[in-house]
């Protein structure tokens, strides 16, 4: 190892600090793009929900028992949200199945699976404050308010309240409920016993081409990020080509050379990813979950490392 480096250094062929910094910057840039796209996707879908009274174009209305409907959605592995009016159209209970689009939350946090009776309330909703926190009451039931509904204080959801109540699942009453999720209507309509009707309300998004442009920009951005990750991986492998070749000539095993290069690249990219992930987590609104940041950082990181390994392997197969 030392011999290879000193030999390469002697001939001016060592991996320079400049090359390492450039590679890291390139990886960081790609990871940043990916993370920003993740934040945009969440904020955009939350904005869209806020503009349409928490409903997406996939929302359907039907009669049924909440527990039954949730069970069927879970069996079909559909990401969906079930909404039931509790006290008029402005106060609704929700049950999330899988990972539906995040609710538009301005401050605080959104619901967690292990929550008890909690609520998200718009700024104008009638809540009460005491020493133990902020509360919203429906009859005898009290719900702890854990977040503000609406991305901003002056929101179309200022009067709305969304409740999370695990007991809803055990309620045997047949109620009118809304199921919102891609493929949910198909998953529930199979046996012909459930009347399903598309929610017919128009949305503020329909006033522009937001519904068409936004997914396209996300797709283009993700493609850009993936192409960038491949470029970063190739560039990182190329910056180590001479050193890798010298090592190969000196008898190092091909696999160990590839692994060493991939580890070096992924370490520097991971360092960049860590910083970017931390900044994005701190700077992003509550609608953007930590898990999403993790995915958006790890995907390009893995792609950069894999591309580096593949390029190095192909390079080392050639004759030096």
């Amino acid at each position: 190892m030392i011999r290879a480096k000193s030999l390469a250094r002697k001939h001016g062929l060592i991996v320079t600090r400049h090359a390492v910094l450039t590679g890291t910057a390139l990886s960081g840039l790609v990871i940043l793009l990916s993370a920003v796209l993740g934040v945009y996707a969440d904020v955009r879908s939350a904005t869209s929900l806020e503009a349409a009274g928490l409903l997406s174009p996939d929302a359907v209305v039907l009669e049924g028992r909440v527990g039954d409907v949730v069970g069927r959605l879970e069996a079909a592995r559909i990401d969906a949200r079930v909404l039931v009016e509790v006290d008029g159209p402005k106060v609704r209970a929700v049950v999330d199945v899988g990972r539906p689009a995040p609710l538009p939350v301005g401050t605080g946090r959104t619901f967690r699976a292990d929550d008890g009776r909690v609520a998200l309330a718009g700024v104008d909703a009638p809540t009460t404050v005491d020493a133990s926190g902020t509360w919203y009451s429906v009859g005898e039931r009290r719900y702890r308010v854990v977040g503000t509904l609406g991305l901003r204080a002056s929101s179309l959801l200022a009067d709305d309240v969304v409740l999370h109540d695990p007991e809803l699942l055990e309620d045997d009453a047949v109620v009118t409920l809304i199921v919102d999720g891609r493929g949910a209507a198909e998953a529930l309509g199979g046996d012909g016993t459930t009347e399903i009707a598309a929610a017919s309300r128009a949305r503020a998004d329909a006033r522009t081409t937001a519904d068409l442009v936004s997914p396209l920009v996300l797709g283009l951005g993700r493609t850009l990020s993936l192409v960038g990750a491949v470029c970063a991986g190739v560039a990182a492998a190329r910056s180590r080509r001479v050193l890798d070749t010298v090592r190969r000539v000196l008898g190092h095993r091909r696999r160990s050379i590839v692994v060493a290069g991939a580890v070096a690249t992924s370490t520097s990219a991971a360092a960049a990813g860590l910083v970017i992930g931390a900044v994005v987590t701190l700077a992003s609104p509550p609608v953007h979950a930590l898990g999403t940041t993790l995915v958006t950082v790890l995907v390009p990181l893995c792609l950069i490392t894999a591309t580096h390994a593949l390029t190095s392997t192909l390079t080392l197969r050639r004759r030096p």
Binding site: T22, L26, L29, V30, L32, L33, V36, L37, Y40, V43, R44, T47, E50, A51, A52, V61, S154, S155, L156, T176, A197, A198, A199, S200, R201, A202, R203, A204, D205, A206, R207, T208, T209, A210, L212, V213, S214, L216, V217, L220, G221, T223, L224, V227, G228, V230, C231, V234, A235, R238
Partner: protein, 426 residues
């Protein structure tokens, strides 16, 4: 051709990667321009500043059902309500917005249950039934009846067909023109006629056009009440001169049209609105009215306008970041390619090829990169779900400009690198 292949030797992947990057960036700019245009159209159209009005509601004050029924059955009473409506509609200082979503029984309806009144709202929907007024099988479909002021205030446009000739709208003619929501395209064509019963009176309706899929109006507290599955029936502009033997029908019509919204410019006092209504009531001899405040409209209007603008800012920020990142990646791939092409350029120059001819290789490569990007952009952009020829033209012009700058920069870089090598002390 051979020279171009020589130029590309060893940099084919980098050239393609850069072309893909530039093509993606062009599509992103195109998307942003198209979105800006649609946002501007919304802000200047249905969300224009002049639509941000103070909204009031005017309703009849005949709370007792018996008194209401008696008044509605009296020809003089109905004519008074109709005159009250006409006086308010003629007042230029306010906009009387009459709209009502009464179901319309349609004879032998050929569409499916999605058009039935109440469908999709959680209400039970009716099945086809024997309608007494039509004397035939009918389905009660979703319908709104609205006046010209509401149609124009909501910035509704008719996409196909001649649309409604508002000056000629009358319920005493043989056919009443209607426009249909976008989903009706699969049921009717422009020019089709069908029979229906408006407020229990059989009429023949002629389809004069379709609304866009996004068509919506302010109705019952909703800024975006969708009309995609509605039959839109126009109200006549004036109704006071109805035939005496039609008092029953015009009684329903006059009350439906008078229970309306009133839009006035922001800043107009409630006293001014009350004074206008009192004048109309005095002139028409109709004292049974009440004014309601409808603050939701302005709030929803303002927030929706902010939301639409916010969407543009959000998308603009994202595209800005992507452009910055994509440009850095494209510059990096250019530098890598130039580094790989340098030995060939040096060899050519050393063997006596003039500097201008050597650097021409950079121009050829840059032209090829941007030509591939431009062709890819054109192929994809014509298949996009939204067509914006202006944005396509602007992006193509920008691509040509970028190609020229890039060719000049690459050429300069090759020349400097060659001169640097020859003048270097080593």
């Amino acid at each position: 051709m051979t020279t171009l292949l020589d130029d590309l030797r060893g940099t084919v992947l980098l050239t393609l990667a850069k072309s893909v990057l530039v093509g993606l960036l062009a599509l992103l700019v195109h998307a942003l321009l198209a979105f800006s245009a649609s946002t501007a159209a919304a802000i200047d159209g249905s969300l224009r500043e002049s639509a941000g009005v103070e909204m009031y509601g005017v309703v009849d004050d005949l709370a007792d059902p018996a008194a209401f029924e008696e008044y509605r059955r009296s020809t003089d009473g109905v004519r008074a309500v109709a005159r009250f409506h006409d006086a308010l509609a003629a007042d230029d200082d306010l906009a009387l917005l009459s709209v009502f979503d009464n179901a319309l029984p349609v004879q032998d309806f050929t569409g499916d249950e999605r058009f039935a009144h109440g469908y999709g709202t959680g209400l039970s929907t009716q099945q086809p039934y024997e309608d007494v007024d039509l004397g035939a099988t009918a389905l009660a479909v979703s319908s709104v009846q609205l006046d010209r002021a509401t149609f124009e205030f909501s910035d509704l446009v008719v996409e196909d067909g001649p649309g409604i000739d508002w000056d000629a709208v009358s319920y005493e003619t043989t056919e009443v023109p209607v426009v249909l929501g976008a989903d009706y395209r699969e049921v009717h064509d422009v020019g089709d006629t069908f029979r229906g019963a408006l407020y229990s009176r059989p009429m023949t309706f002629r389809v004069t056009g379709f609304l866009p899929a996004s068509a919506s109006i302010w109705y019952q507290g909703e800024l975006d009440f969708s009309l995609s599955r509605h039959v839109v029936i126009p109200y006549p502009e004036r109704i006071a001169d109805f035939p005496d033997d039609e008092a029953d029908f015009y009684g329903i019509l006059a009350f439906a049209m008078t229970n309306a919204n009133i839009g006035v410019p922001v800043g107009t006092s409630e006293e001014d609105v009350l004074a206008a209504l009192e004048d109309a009531a005095r002139a028409s001899d109709f004292p049974y009215w009440r004014l309601l405040g409808v603050p939701d409209y302005l709030t929803q209007f303002t927030l929706t306008r902010a939301l639409v603008t916010g969407n543009l800012v959000l998308l603009g920020s994202l595209v800005g970041i992507l452009l910055l990142g994509g440009t850095l990646l494209a510059v990096t791939s250019t530098r890598l390619a130039l580094r790989r092409r340098r030995p060939l350029a040096a060899a050519r120059w050393t063997t006596g090829v003039p500097l201008r001819d050597v650097t021409a290789g950079a121009t050829r490569c840059a032209t090829l990169e941007h030509a591939i990007a431009g062709a890819g952009f054109l192929v994809v952009s014509v298949h996009l779900p939204y067509l914006d020829l202006r944005a396509t033209g602007v992006v193509l012009a920008a691509l040509v400009a970028v190609a020229l700058v890039d060719a000049w920069a690459q050429r300069r870089r090759v020349r400097l690198s060659l001169l640097e090598r020859t003048t270097s002390p080593s």
